[in-house]
């Protein structure tokens, strides 16, 4: 090292020094005290993956404006979206959420069991905490080359299904109910047979409905089982090349809005309660319809001109989520179908 003169060794540090200096200046720039505005108050919203676009782009910005008009205070909604099970686990682990939108009631029940919210608190909201619905549908490749019309066609040999993972994805748990419920008119044995047939052909499992869609979009598989709303917004935007196939009997998914009690200060709780109420207002419901959801007010759905699905059922038809989770997701799917398929 002594051979390198000090001048030479100093010159060698100019380039990395300049690079690091530039990176530091760039990184610090927004935090330098150049502008005088106080940072806005934040409200943290966690949601299941498919709700991301509607909330980030439409619902929450609209709420920020309403809040400012009503209180004069600048509010910024900070969000995190992932699979419903993942979101639920994160909130149980203590992320600072004030409001959660989970894909299905068992996740809300888990939040209550962990003391995050009062048991059943979401049922005190309008419509039992359901602000929007969307059916589970099938997305096939353009022209439907496999001729898929209903869940029964998914059980045909050689069909490769892209399916989210029911352990982390709410949409996937709903899809299991749809696959079982579609066969239920022929009896419980036939329903389980259909579920087994479908799962025999599941070629890829992703952690969330969103991730499953990304796999399908990258040309994997013949058919994607997902939310109508998620498929609609992607096809409209030209990101997903495919066609929606409506099964005759499918399930209406009903995400739940949950106001978090644990670790939320009183001012945030007021804002979270206001946001929850805001979701059922007519303008918000229209925004949700624009983003592919079906409103809880039937008259607002006319504008979207989506198929009526007279044979679609709600989870109540299966005896409610408590029974559906116990007998269909846990007993039939996890304890019988998966082991039989060797998974």
């Amino acid at each position: 090292m002594a051979m390198n003169g000090p001048a030479r060794s100093r010159r060698a540090w100019i380039a990395p020094g300049v690079l690091l200096g530039a990176l530091l200046a760039y990184a610090l720039w927004p935090w330098l005290p150049l502008r005088g505005t106080a940072p806005p108050r934040t409200l943290i919203v966690y949601g299941y993956s498919a709700a991301a676009e509607a909330f980030q782009q439409a619902v929450l910005p609209a709420f920020e404006r309403v809040w400012r008009r009503e209180t004069g205070e600048r509010l910024e909604c900070v969000t995190a979206f992932a699979g419903s099970g993942t979101v639920t686990n994160q909130i149980i682990m203590g992320v600072p959420a004030a409001l959660a939108i989970v894909a299905l009631e068992p996740d809300a029940e888990r939040l209550a069991a962990a003391g995050v919210t009062r048991p059943g608190s979401w049922r005190e909201l309008p419509e039992q905490g359901v602000a929007f619905r969307t059916p589970i549908v099938l997305v096939v490749r353009p022209g439907n080359p496999r001729g898929i019309r209903d869940f029964a066609d998914l059980a045909r040999p050689g069909v490769r299904i892209v399916h989210p993972d029911p352990l982390t994805s709410g949409g996937a748990a709903w899809a299991v109910l749809a696959e079982y419920g579609a066969g239920l008119p022929a009896g419980e044995a036939a329903a389980e047979e259909l579920l087994r047939g479908v799962w025999h052909n599941v070629a890829a499992q992703a952690t969330s409905a969103r991730a499953a869609r990304t796999q399908f979009q990258n040309d994997f598989g013949d058919v994607l089982v997902t939310y109508e709303q998620d498929a609609l917004i992607d096809i409209r935007r030209g990101r997903l090349r495919g066609e929606i196939v409506y099964p005759r009997r499918t399930v209406w998914t009903e995400p739940k809005v949950v106001i978090v009690d644990r670790g939320v200060d009183s001012r945030d709780r007021v804002a979270a309660a206001r946001l929850a109420a805001f979701l059922w207002e007519e303008d918000t419901q229209r925004l949700l319809v624009e983003h592919g959801f079906r409103s809880v007010r039937p008259e607002l759905n006319v504008a979207a001109a989506l198929p009526a699905l007279p044979d679609a059922f709600r989870v109540d038809a299966l005896g409610g989520w408590g029974r559906a989770k116990r007998e269909i997701v846990d007993a039939a799917w996890r304890q019988r179908v998966l082991p039989e398929l060797g998974r």
């Binding site: 090292m1 002594a2 051979m3 390198n4 060698a12 540090w13 380039a15 990395p16 690079l19 990176l23 530091l24 760039y26 990184a27 610090l28 720039w29 927004p30 934040t42 943290i44 993956s49 991301a52 900070v78 969000t79 995190a80 979206f81 992932a82 994160q90 149980i92 682990m93 203590g94 992320v95 600072p96 952690t207 969330s208 969103r210 991730a211 869609r213 990304t214 979009q217 992607d234 990101r239 670790g263």
Partner: protein, 278 residues
Amino acid sequence: MSDSRGSGAVGRRSGRWPVGLLVLVLLPIILMPLGAIAVFALRGGLAGFVSALLTADAQFALRFSLLVAFATATINAVLGTFAAYVLSKHRFRGERVLGIAVNLPVAIPTVVVGTSLLLLWGPIGLLGRWLVPLGLEPMFTPFGVLLAHLFVTFPYMLGAIKPLLDELETTYEEAAYTMGATRWQTFRHVLLPALRGGLWSGTLLTFAHSLGEFGATVMVSGNLRLRTQTAPLYIFAQFEAGNLESANAVAAVLALVSFLIFFFLLRLTERRGGARSE
């Protein structure tokens, strides 16, 4: 880049085919995937690339990652040098155990690091349970991300400094000592100049690792956009959401910055290697 100049290595052959074979093996494993990022990042044209980079989320993620990397590199440069000094210059009971403990983060999966931090500092964790009611909540904040990065990158500084200290003859120190220099003066004027190259390479290595850290960060950050979402988390979230352009633009920038850092790192080690054999 250093091998062609042959800094005094013995028995080097000029055979072509092993080199060709190595390149052939490296192509699908390393080189082609990196090329794919560049190709996809620029597929939507330069305008698309720039606009994907300029969204508030992407800008925040990049800046946040850089700040965390700077903080991690600075803190671990000091802590790592101190650890290397203690382990190299002091003989004590439990030295081996401590030596293994400080190197442990290399061997532990980063997801496990994240989990362990949550189970200690998180709201349901051993210490967090008592701290959170006091309003001290390190997890799911930028501070939690910093803690995770300090943990994961701790051994890199140590690895860069300790071999240099071990090699350094104690006679210089003893000489300084007998001439009446204090322990700090000895360190400042005798040890530090000898360590300069190692300090830089250790710091850069720590910086680069922090910039790309994913496993531990995803556990402790809560993945809040515009709050705790680092660039790697942003890339993953955008990829999962199907926004390949956004994911790729940030991935390309991250790859470029890491490449530059690595480039300087290589030049540095090359110079040191050359100096030693001169």
